[in-house]
């Protein structure tokens, strides 16, 4: 084993974007002919590492070797020539062209050097199809393909260019279970033919089922390299989410005395909620829960199990297929976002760039998004009050730089998040949806935002917290629900939960009590 040359060896990789260290001591060693899983949470630096391998980025420090050759800082063309093929998470196909045309794009076989030799292209594709088992009719239009078929074309495309080392970035994110099984069969066959495969994923069940070796990344660093046969999903989960240094690790909220004068219908009441996703799949399936005033219900789960859709449906940004949503006893299931605001709903969205902020607007203007009508008199916005409000929020949330007329785009990610949090916590509300409230935020701001959430809880607000950070969920929640494949796998008091217990529900090895 030792004498064999690694197909890919990345060592001591450093890469930073401004103040953010995407890779900090990352390494990866992939042996030829194996399926190697690269796992880690969002933002752990997996994609950056693969971009460096693919020549899309140059590392600040470290060494990249392919088949024993030092290729540090090479270009994408070098990488392709050396047989590295990256299958991106988002398809890069021309929908109006056929499968064959897409495959030969850029290296088209031509008759007399001008006309595309369509038949030869189709034959080439058919030949490759039968060799790999990636069966697809070359004359079909890409726009007619299903998601799984389109992905097959993506894989064929890199193979067509002679790739021997395949990198697949979250290949199953968009696939249905039967399509996933087909993909596994194809990948195994490719491996058996001597190809090397790197699989980026954060779904542990896939990792365990398919890979030979696992590399775990956390916070830009490689923390473990293990043989799949010698580990368990629980151990991988612990390696993925565990933190040596964490402000909130081990901390638990103390139960507080509930306000006594609460009516039974106060808070958030969700009954049998169902949501249909883009491919007709039930992404949320019969979820029922209540969040009472003065309570934080945390939702844990591997991303992509319906949390995003659930929050969007609660916020009024997604239509529901069935069920009911009540705020303080008012049915708002089919009400507009504005009416939900009036009913007492506040929402920290998971994606501040797409939803939470208008990046071109000033900080002051962003601080009134969703509150416009409270800052307008007879249709005219009261600029003085907008500025006054901004100065107040800027000082109480320590938003930097403290300049209300700066466009939100000019702020750092953490300060942008503070703008969103300041706005949503500053308005009057009874129910708060907090989705990834500390994503991409520095340590100090995390503590601050956590304190804000706990203060709101103490004031009798009902808070639904969704976070990919298990620590965060554990530290803040009174009760914790684990979402798995669109359902609540379990709902348990925080005191009974631990990373290990939650981890097992998150990857579906344990089924729970919840309906």
């Amino acid at each position: 084993m030792k004498e064999r040359e690694a197909a890919v060896r990345l060592s001591g990789i450093e890469k930073s974007f401004g103040a953010i260290m995407a890779n900090h001591g990352a390494s990866l060693e992939v042996m030829p002919g194996e399926i190697h899983a690269l796992v880690g949470e969002n933002g752990a630096g997996k994609s950056t590492l693969m971009r460096i391998l693919g020549g899309l980025m140059k590392p600040d420090a470290g060494r990249v070797e392919v088949n024993g050759r030092d290729v540090t800082g090479w270009s994408t063309n070098d990488a392709i020539a050396a047989g590295i093929g990256i299958v991106h998470q988002h398809f890069m196909l021309v929908p109006t062209l056929s499968v064959a045309e897409n495959l030969v794009l850029g290296c088209e076989p031509k008759t007399r050097g001008v006309v595309l030799d369509y038949n030869r292209a189709a034959d080439d594709v058919r030949k490759l199809s039968s060799e790999t088992g990636l069966v697809i009719a070359p004359e079909r239009l890409v726009s007619d393909l299903s998601v799984g078929e389109a992905q097959r074309v993506e894989i064929l495309k890199v193979l067509f260019r002679g790739a021997r080392i395949l990198v697949l970035d979250e290949p199953t994110a968009v696939l249905s279970p039967p399509e996933v099984r087909e993909l596994w069969a194809v990948l195994r066959r490719l491996r058996d033919k001597g190809n090397t495969i790197v699989l980026i994923t954060h779904r542990l069940d896939e990792v365990v089922e398919l890979s030979d070796t696992i590399t775990v990344m956390r916070a830009g660093q490689t923390v473990a390299r293990i043989k799949t046969s010698e580990t368990t999903p629980a151990e991988i989960a612990r390696l993925m989410v565990g933190r040596e240094v964490s402000l909130s690790a081990g901390k638990r909220v103390q139960p507080i005395a509930r306000p006594t004068n609460v009516r039974p219908d106060q808070g958030l009441d969700v009954r049998n909620l169902g949501i249909t996703g883009s491919h007709g799949v039930r992404v949320v399936d019969g979820v029922t829960f209540k969040v009472q005033p003065g309570e934080i219900l945390g939702i844990a789960g591997v991303e992509g199990n319906g949390q995003t859709e659930l929050i969007e449906a609660l916020a009024g940004l997604r239509t529901v297929a069935g069920g009911e949503i009540l705020i303080d006893g008012n049915d708002i299931t089919r009400r507009s976002v504005a009416i939900r605001h009036d009913a007492g709903l506040s929402h920290i969205p998971e994606d501040r760039h797409r939803r939470g902020l208008i990046l071109e607007y000033t900080v002051a203007d962003n601080l009134i998004l969703g509150l416009q009508k409270h800052f307008a008199k007879r249709g005219v916005i009261d600029g003085d009050r907008v500025l006054e409000n901004a100065l107040e929020e800027i000082s109480s949330f320590d938003i930097r730089p403290p300049n209300p007329v700066l466009p939100a785009r000019a702020l750092s990610g953490g300060n942008q998040q503070k703008v969103v949090v300041a706005r949503e916590m500053g308005r009057s509300f009874s129910v708060l949806l907090a989705s990834q409230p500390t994503r991409g935020v520095d340590v100090g701001a995390i503590e601050f935002i956590h304190q804000q959430l706990l203060d709101a809880r103490a004031k009798g607000k009902a808070i639904l917290l969704v976070s990919a950070e298990l620590n965060e969920v554990l530290a803040l929640s009174d009760r914790i629900a684990v979402m798995y494949r669109g359902k609540f796998a379990v709902v348990m008091p925080s005191a009974e939960a631990s990373e290990e217990v939650l981890g097992e529900y998150m990857i579906g090895t344990k089924k729970g009590n919840a309906a």
Binding site: V337, I358, Q372, I381, L391
Partner: protein
């Protein structure tokens, strides 16, 4: 709680860098575009064996150099200001209104009908608002159709507004040719009320030029558009939808309703522009009067950077080129001006992102 120490600390930044930055980004691209156009113009003029200096002098004399020419520039700028405001208003909401042409014509037609329906001697103070309401309503209806089709069925507003141009213009042509024209012509009879005073009535040296009170209306309209966009809640919502629809939706703004409002108001602005020709110049509606002005509005909005003040300046600039083409006709073909307009538009379109990148780079270097 708004501590004045904090406010004092912030003030220098408010009046400092961001404003200078914004002014630079707003002004430099059009100026660069102008420079590029001038160079192209020089080459073109030289290719006709003429002296650029002489031709430009002639151009300036024929436009800004005498009262008549200047009046004509102002007249042409008035219509362009309306159509430019209309296009820029739509663009602020993220919508491309290519229907200015027919909205302008419909507005002019409605203004003429109103002027015909009113009794002779109706005071202007009454007739002008009525004509404007009619013109705005007609343009607004033309604008609301694509808006409705977009919100209801997802039909793209560019396609619908373009197609609607043909339909509306053909309908108007049918009305005029079949029902309302003065024999042997393609225009309506002269209106009974709503005739706008001309600049020449106030200051005789403008004699002969068509500049009229509609110019004031255009400037006021720019003011109203500015106030709506940047000071009103409706404008806050509208710009939010244009910049980031999903964030606007999150903020409780109904994207569909904003689209409906934006295109309808855009159509209204273009429609009101019809008064310049109908009430201010000819005093009747004539088939084809709007020809080109609607499309020119797109260029005006583009060069004016979708800002009402920028639109006024751009309208004045394009009107100067158009009038200047007549002045220099003796030396070079007046189509040269069309070429120059095209160059300016292309240069602005190209230079906006380019110049921005250069500015950002320069700033970063100076910060470092």
């Amino acid at each position: 709680m708004t501590g004045s120490p904090l406010a004092a600390e912030i003030k220098p930044t408010v009046s400092g860098a961001p404003w200078r930055e914004r002014a630079e980004e707003a002004l430099i691209p059009p100026l660069v575009a102008l420079l590029v156009a001038l160079i192209c113009g020089d080459l073109l003029i030289l290719s006709y064996g003429q002296s650029p200096a002489a031709v430009y002098r002639l151009l300036l004399e024929g436009t800004w150099g005498n009262a008549y020419g200047f009046g004509q520039v102002l007249y042409k700028a008035t219509t362009l200001a309306f159509t430019g405001l209309a296009v820029s208003f739509g663009l602020r909401a993220g919508l491309f209104n290519i229907g200015g042409e027919s909205q302008l014509a419909a507005g002019g037609f409605a203004a003429a009908l109103t002027g015909l329906a009113l009794p002779v001697g109706t005071p202007l103070i009454l007739a002008l608002p009525l004509c404007m309401i009619a013109a705005g309503a007609a343009g607004g209806v033309a604008g609301s159709v694509p808006a409705y089709l977009k919100t209801r069925f997802g039909a793209h507003e560019v396609i619908v507004t373009i197609m609607l141009n043909f339909i509306v213009l053909a309908l108007l042509n049918w009305f005029i040719a079949g029902h309302l024209h003065v024999p042997e012509t393609l225009h309506t009879p002269e209106i009974h009320a709503g005739v706008l005073p001309r600049l020449a009535d106030i200051s005789p040296q403008f004699h002969g030029s068509a500049a009229n009170l509609a110019l004031i209306v255009a400037v006021l309209a720019a003011g109203v558009v500015w106030f709506y966009l940047f000071r009103s809640r409706g404008g806050y919502d509208l710009r939010a939808v244009g910049l980031q629809p999903s964030a606007a939706e999150y903020g409780g703004i109904s994207v569909g309703r904003v689209w409906l409002r934006a295109l309808t108001l855009s159509g209204m602005i273009a429609g009101i522009g019809g008064i310049n020709y109908v009430l201010g110049y000819k005093h009747y509606y004539e088939d084809g009067f709007a020809s080109g002005a609607g499309f020119m509005g797109i260029a005006v909005a583009l060069v004016g950077r979708n800002h009402p003040i920028g639109v006024l300046v751009a309208a004045f600039f394009f009107a100067t080129l158009s009038q200047g083409g007549l002045a220099i006709h003796a030396f070079v073909p007046k189509q040269m001006m069309d070429v120059l307009q095209g160059v300016v538009i292309l240069a602005v379109a190209v230079s906006v992102p380019e110049v921005r990148r250069i500015l950002r780079g320069a700033r970063r270097r100076s910060d470092a």
